[in-house]
Symmetry: C2
Subunit: 429 residues, 2 copies
């Protein structure tokens, strides 16, 4: 068992620092160039979907099942078979799904934009209000927070627990403050912690009695089928159904996409929501576009066929991703176990590991890693406005590098954690 | 030479009406089901691009020329070769183009939305203004008008002449009224008249001195390469260059897409504009999306290669479209020539023929045609708010039906024009 840094003497720490500095120098000389910053699938994962390039050829019949020629204009919110496929991924009724373009982020932005410009279900457009507040469970997804920051909403940080956001706080805000119009959620294998909301948390969400009638839960189900293990999986309650049961059918927008199933940037995104919300969206969508890329929708259906096809594909993704997560987790354990200078999550799915360093160390660790050629997500990015009040959280994205590269990157990362932590502890000795 | 209806006696007209009624009855009994309502390419045209389905297969190298793997995340505003291809279609510098998704309409809507939500180049967001006015040359494109109607802008009709919008009126509004923030233009083979702006009109656009610094020309170059004839083509001055020369580089957003070159709904759309406007757009685009479908961009480049490939394809489109336009024009001439109950345009490109009936007859003609199974664009659609003050203009879209179907549909249309005109003239006798 390693000795906790905090219990070391100043002399021990100084000598340790010397050692670590030397080791770091060695890494620097390697001239590494590795990226653990974004949740990008690896080349091996992209190769899994190359069969999709063969499903169409110049003699293909490109009509969808209702006879629509997918090569021409038309079909506002998706061909029927694409709705079924995405509904099966989102675990909702195909009647309650609308298919969009290649990016669920774009769908979320547009959903906020519609509320801002035109209002939801006849309510005042958010752009006409003095103030709009959004709840942001953090650490969370930086691109969510960037949307609400750009719209000028006041973002309120909600602490994340292992079973989901702090629901006492969520209820307090949502049920009492009419300026609170929304909350960002990644309910399954959350970004970056990999936490999944407990049944109780989902039910408490569904049971919210918002002070604002146009309050909406932005439920980004990005990792619904993105398990790492066959035998240990998180499953969560279906939020549309729970909201309907609780008498709040219109309270949620659920987002999903095939970005990390087929090709990021060339997948299919969707929104699942109530009939009333869908009618509301369609009113503006019909002005915005004639329709999204139906050929790509059909391509996805012909390749994956159905939920079973998707699951088979996700097992192949998992086989590639699992060793990477395990490599990082094992390295952190080997290098940092017992030192009491950091904790990290061990998710069963999703794309990230969340690392919490000693307070005040995250920025320095990320800078240090960069100095030796390993790019991490910017420290603070997982909090609203990019400011982590404790400067502690670091998102690790192990998906893109190879296992061999990760072995090096994870060790270097641990070294940076040690170095910065030693310096931090020395300051107070 | 046929006799003008207006010069006929009441008796002649009544007997003519009997004849026409009988003829119409005959058509009704045929149970036609034809659609001349939208500018949809025909199946034969769609077949022209089926080779695009063969350019990728499961062993393809899907890196673009700068080494980016087009299957993964990244590249906000388009891969370099797609920028070059779309720039060649838009006749602009590839440095001044941004590639978007599948729909130029969506790009236009988003461009208006950004101005509405965030303002242009630091100016007040349009949603914070009491009033925003938009100039709408009419007859024009219904989907343009629908966007500005949805945003609640006051739309001001500008008469269209053969060489473009009434520039005296445009100058009067733009140069004096700071509430006028934009104008919709289809400068080449305009929708629905097929008119192209003269050099003088383009220069007068570029020379505008708007009262509103955030006034923008929305230049929808939808039909830039959509000629019907080899030897008779409209060409227009390049607006970005003209605006720059006139000292107003930021005054224009130019839109283009491959929708009617490859596949509508599965093409690639783009915006061309000044460096400053591009930087402004990027600020928000980076929040809205990680990037658009690069595989589809690459697919288009591999299929068309360059401007020459596009032009060859457009000649094949023209070979299919030309006989259809000529069939309609000939039928109208044969059936209506000399009757003085309608005039129509004879465009050299684009997707539409514009028909002007006697005042107060358009709605009735469209209704009559529908009664016999031929769907036209709704009368009034070519004007702001869907209201044609003279109830005279009808848009004819000859692209989708076969030549054989068109022969029938055009004859029926002419018959409906005659019938409604006779009734109209009888009213005043």
């Amino acid at each position: 068992m390693s000795k906790a840094y905090a219990s070391m003497s100043r002399e021990e720490l100084l000598s340790l620092k010397d050692e670590l500095d030397k080791e770091f120098q060695g890494y620097k000389e390697k001239g590494l160039k590795l990226d653990m910053s974004r949740g990008k699938p690896s080349i091996a994962q992209l190769n899994l979907s190359m069969g999709m390039m063969d499903v169409f050829h110049s003699e293909s019949d490109l009509k969808c099942e209702d006879g629509t020629d997918c090569r021409n204009y038309g079909v506002l919110d998706g061909i029927p078979e694409a709705k079924r496929l995405l509904a099966s991924i989102a675990e909702v009724n195909p009647d309650n799904i609308m298919i969009f373009g290649n990016s669920s982020l774009n769908v979320m932005y547009d959903t906020v934009a519609r509320a801002y410009m035109f209002g939801l279900l006849g309510h005042t457009p958010w752009c006409k209000l003095d103030k709009v507040k959004f709840l942001c469970p953090a650490p969370g997804y930086d691109r969510h927070f960037k949307i609400t920051e750009t719209f000028g909403f006041e973002m309120i940080t909600i602490p994340m627990h292992e079973d989901g956001p702090d629901m006492d706080m969520v209820e307090e805000y949502v049920n009492n403050d009419p300026e609170v119009k929304g909350i960002w959620c990644v309910p399954k294998y959350s970004n970056p912690q990999g936490y999944s909301y407990s049944d109780e948390v989902v039910k408490r969400f569904a049971a919210l009695t918002p002070a604002a009638e146009d309050f909406r839960i932005f439920w980004d189900n990005a990792y619904s089928v993105h398990h790492l293990y066959e035998d240990r999986r998180d499953e969560i309650l279906e939020i549309l159904e729970e909201c309907a049961k609780a008498g709040h059918p219109d309270m949620v927008f659920k987002f999903t996409s095939t970005s990390k199933i087929s090709f990021p940037g060339s997948g299919v995104a969707a929104i699942a929501t109530s009939d009333a919300n869908m009618a509301d969206i369609r009113k503006y969508m019909v002005v915005q576009t004639i329709g999204h890329d139906k050929l790509n929708q059909l391509r996805h259906v012909r390749f994956f066929r159905d939920r079973y096809g998707v699951e088979a594909q996700m097992r192949r993704h998992a086989d590639i991703l699992r060793p990477k997560f395990e490599m990082v987790e094992q390295t952190l354990e080997d290098e940092l176990g017992g030192l009491e200078i950091g904790t990290w999550t061990k998710p069963l799915g999703g794309y990230f590991i969340s690392f919490d360093a000693l307070e005040g160390c995250a920025k320095a660790i990320v800078a240090k890693a960069k100095e030796a050629g390993v790019v991490m997500t910017g420290a603070g990015a997982t909090f609203p406005y990019g400011i982590d009040p404790k400067d502690s959280n670091i998102r690790i994205a192990p998906s893109y590098p190879t296992v061999e590269e990760l072995a090096v990157a994870a060790k270097l990362f641990a070294l940076c954690v040690k170095l910065v932590s030693v310096e931090k502890i020395l300051e107070s000795k």
